[in-house]
């Protein structure tokens, strides 16, 4: 998911947070983004 996020959004959060290992809070930030996206896609298709 991190790779997809970095590729599609053009932001490398590991660089931003200056870390070598993928861990929280980066993983949580990315999770929250995809949770928002998943819900957004569903709200569009169901006209919420």
């Amino acid at each position: 998911m991190y790779e997809q996020f970095t590729r599609t959004q053009g932001v490398d959060l590991m660089k931003v947070f200056d870390v070598q290992k993928l861990n929280n809070p980066i993983t949580d930030i990315i999770d929250s983004y995809y949770i928002m996206r998943a819900g957004y896609e569903d709200s569009i298709s169901n006209n919420i």
Binding site: M1, D31, S32, Y34, I35, M36, A38, G39, E41, S43
Partner: protein, 162 residues
């Protein structure tokens, strides 16, 4: 200028809840790209306690207040109280603050069409999830949905449950 018949963009909030390192993604202008969103996270590590980017912020009282002002929502207020409750087991204090917060939030949510999405992991976080649902579903005009999170590279794997 807002045209006749044009609706305001929805405020969309994605919450990745956990006890130690929750994160919140807020999309307010109808877009879903990284730059359209604000991210708030909680951490115990000093290194991460600051503004990492303009839109990536650690949760603290100052930016919670900014968020409240900007979004006119008390959602993060709920979240902070929830974390406080879980960590300190201060049930009575939590309940009182939560009730006050709900009252204030109801006024603000009248003005917004807000959609809230939560991640879900029934085995790990069922109590937290129930608390969220009770609080958020009591608000008018707020659609709450559960997203089942799966750790894959495929966005479609995040299933909408309700």
């Amino acid at each position: 200028m807002k045209k006749s018949g044009q609706t305001s963009p929805k405020t969309i909030v994605g919450i990745d809840y956990s006890l130690n390192s929750p994160a919140v993604c807020v999309s307010t202008n109808g877009g879903t790209s990284f730059s359209d969103c604000y991210f708030y996270y909680l951490t115990s590590k000093k290194k991460y306690m600051g503004k990492m980017l303009e839109n990536v912020l650690v949760m603290n009282i100052k930016n919670i207040m900014v968020l409240l002002r900007d979004l006119k929502t008390y959602l993060i207020g709920y979240y902070t109280y929830l974390i406080h409750f879980i960590k300190n087991k201060q049930t009575k204090i939590f309940s009182l603050k939560a009730i006050l917060t709900v009252q204030k939030a109801k006024q603000y949510f009248k003005l917004l069409k807000t959609v809230v999405f939560l991640n879900t992991d029934y085995k790990k976080n069922i109590i937290v999830e129930r608390l969220y649902l009770v609080l958020l579903k009591s608000l008018p005009q707020v659609k709450v949905m559960l997203i089942k999170k799966r750790c894959t590279n495929n966005l479609q794997e995040h299933k909408v449950l309700t």
